[in-house]
């Protein structure tokens, strides 16, 4: 039975003796109990993660690459945390051996490593935030489903861009900036017509549900490609085929109209020349005839005037026919331009301010995992179009919940380290303080040991 005198810090009532059940200081008992409560806290969070993740519709949970989780960075962070675990245990050893300086050095090292951990975490968070991946409110870019709502959100986003760029241009910015803005305006307009409006039309016109879904998928894929939707590249080929077919279909009537216009133009010109010639002849004949023309002359003039009327009529008709043909051509040209714009959007071309969709996304299926990268959002970081990630909101919710609470625990640990470092030497008398904060720090490490595979590798 260990008994301990119990020191109370202020005025002197009698010191009582106790019979502790555990051969460790009260602080350590309390800390272990606190860690038990922490275990339950994280068990609830991790349990929720597990049921939400595996309760999500099969195969929808985003892979690490879909949401910019880089395993290597996670592994590096794991390494940093392991290092900090070693340094703090070394700090404890040093403190036990009464080497205060060494202990402080190791504790400081732990502090530095913990800060590094948070720094890397912040870098990781930033890469998610930059892509607009965070829980729904106030305005994350993540959409769980590519559907009409998603399409409208993209259109809205582009129109907002357009309005803000025009507003900036109206303010007469510097020449260089104006140039950039004008380019952006081109991109926005190009996407609005050849990307959004095109898809909208395709979906509105089609009765084929599969084709509609393919359009939606393709639409979302080239904004923000997901490995699971790599099939969208073949939809794009299909789309290109349709576009080219349309272009081809347009070519013959357009050429025909063109030649028709040529023909009518020529006719009109000839008729015009004749009209002019006739007018001159009539003028001349009238001059010759003077004030009192002879019957013969009268007849000649009348004949010429008849000819003139015929020629004029011919000219008017030819012009009208030409106009009609060119209107028709213009209509076809609009169609052609749309299809051509679409073709250029897909294949690339001189008129397109946007690089070809085909070149925009790279699909690499050589390795064990299919890897994709690129997309409009990556090529034009300023665009920030809504993105489609199945179960994306749930992923963001759980990821930020788990790592956020873990990071908060790290931050609290760092704060305590600072306080301990500032409040005096770490000699043997304070070894149990180092031990307690060490236990807490190891617990934080333990949580990360489980979070790392669950969040990065699964």
């Amino acid at each position: 039975m260990a008994t301990a005198a119990h020191e109370h810090e202020h005025h002197g009532h009698i010191r009582l003796e106790y019979q502790p059940a555990l051969p460790i200081p009260n602080g350590k008992v309390c800390l272990w109990l606190f860690l038990s409560t922490e275990i339950m806290f994280f068990a609830a969070l991790i349990g929720a993660y597990i049921v939400l993740r595996f309760g999500a519709p099969a195969g929808t949970w985003p892979g690490p690459h879909d949401v910019h989780v880089i395993e290597t960075v996670g592994a590096i962070n794991t390494f940093v945390l392991i290092c900090s675990s070693v340094t703090i245990v070394l700090a404890l050893e040093a403190a036990k051996q009464n080497k205060s300086g060494l202990a402080r050095m190791f504790l400081f090292l732990t502090l530095a490593l913990g800060t590094l951990f948070l720094g890397i975490k912040a870098f990781e968070y930033k890469s998610k935030f930059d892509h607009g991946i965070y829980p729904k409110r106030p305005h994350s870019l993540v959409y769980d489903k590519a559907d009409m709502y998603y399409l409208q959100a993209v259109r809205q986003r582009l129109q907002d861009h357009r309005a803000s760029i025009e507003k900036e241009l109206a303010a007469k910015p510097a020449k260089q900036k104006a140039e950039v803005l004008r380019q952006r305006l081109d991109v926005v307009d190009h996407l609005l017509t050849h990307y959004v409006a095109w898809t909208e039309r395709q979906i509105a016109q089609s009765d084929d549900a599969a084709w509609r879904f393919a359009q939606f998928d393709m639409f979302a894929f080239y904004i923000y490609p997901l490995a699971r939707n790599a099939a969208a590249t073949s939809y794009l080929e299909e789309d290109l085929r349709v576009v080219k077919e349309e272009l081809q279909k347009l070519a013959a009537p357009m050429a025909k109209l063109q030649s028709e216009i040529e023909k009518q133009k020529k006719e009109a010109e000839e008729a015009g020349a004749r009209v002019e010639a006739l007018q001159e002849q009539i003028e001349e004949a009238k001059k010759k005839a003077g004030d009192n023309p002879s019957d013969e002359q009268k007849t000649a003039i009348t004949k010429l005037e008849e000819e003139l009327a015929a020629a004029t009529k011919q000219q008017t008709e030819a012009t009208a026919a030409m106009k009609k043909a060119s209107t028709e051509l213009q209509g076809l040209q609009v169609q052609h331009k749309a299809a051509e714009g679409r073709r250029q959007l897909i294949e690339g071309g001189s008129d397109s301010p946007v690089p070809s969709l085909k070149s925009l996304v790279e699909v690499d299926d050589s390795g064990p995992h299919v890897k994709v990268h690129g997309g409009l959002n990556e090529h034009f970081p300023w665009l920030k179009l809504p993105i489609h990630i199945p179960s994306g909101n749930m992923w963001a919710s759980t990821y930020f919940l788990l790592t956020g609470f873990h990071a908060m625990h790290v931050a609290v640990g760092l704060l305590v380290f600072v306080i301990v470092l500032l409040t005096g030497p770490l000699n043997r008398s304070r070894a149990n303080v180092v031990e307690n904060i060490g236990l807490y720090w190891h617990f934080v490490d333990l949580v990360w040991i489980f979070l790392f595979p669950l969040l990065y590798l699964f």
């Binding site: 260990a2 301990a4 005198a5 059940a21 555990l22 051969p23 460790i24 200081p25 009260n26 602080g27 272990w32 860690l35 038990s36 409560t37 339950m40 068990a43 991790i46 349990g47 597990i50 049921v51 595996f54 309760g55 519709p57 099969a58 929808t60 395993e71 592994a75 392991i82 290092c83 070693v86 245990v89 070394l90 050893e93 036990k96 769980d144 489903k145 549900a209 879904f213 393919a214 939606f216 939707n229 099939a231 064990p368 995992h369 199945p390 179960s391 409040t423 008398s429 070894a431 149990n432 303080v433 307690n436 490490d445 333990l446 040991i449 489980f450 790392f452 595979p453 590798l457 699964f458």
Partner: protein, 148 residues
């Protein structure tokens, strides 16, 4: 820090006895932790994960448990502590495992009870949506989701 935390006779009693740990041991544990981390990292990127993800995940969790055990035994000194360690660690561990276990059979396997509305809006892979009768139709052959 509270006055009660500061080392008392109890504290020095508990820590006074024979020196365990030792820096060499800590470094060895550190090495093991790094190796184990590397193992799970490569598991995730290996063909095992591709062919049988369940096996790979189980292996990764086993690796994590091993790491956790190493940290607890050596860094948290549980290896050298008296029997109180069981009193303070086992209940919480059991309870947390039990909580997760009881959640999984119920809410974890809920997809089979998704209603049609939910399937309609479930973020399914596109391939499944193409043949649109697939939504739980095996159970209810007469129900197909309508398209608005």
């Amino acid at each position: 820090m509270n006055a009660h935390d500061v080392s008392t006779d109890v504290a020095s009693d508990a820590h006074g006895h024979e020196e365990h740990g030792g820096n060499a041991k800590y470094l060895a544990v550190f090495g093991a932790l790094v190796v184990l981390t590397a193992i799970s990292f490569f598991l995730a990127n290996s063909s095992v994960y591709e062919t049988s993800p369940v096996v790979a995940r189980a292996a990764m969790l086993a690796v994590s448990c091993a790491k956790a055990l190493l940290v607890m035994l050596f860094f948290m000194h549980l290896l050298w502590e008296a029997n109180w360690k069981y009193v303070l660690t086992i209940p919480a561990s059991l309870m947390s495992v039990f909580l997760v276990l009881m959640l999984v059979p119920d809410v974890g396997r809920r997809t089979e009870k998704y209603n049609l509305e939910r399937w309609r809006h479930a973020s399914e892979p596109a391939q499944i949506q193409h043949h649109q009768a697939g939504h739980g139709a095996d159970e209810e052959p007469h129900e197909t989701p309508d398209e608005h």
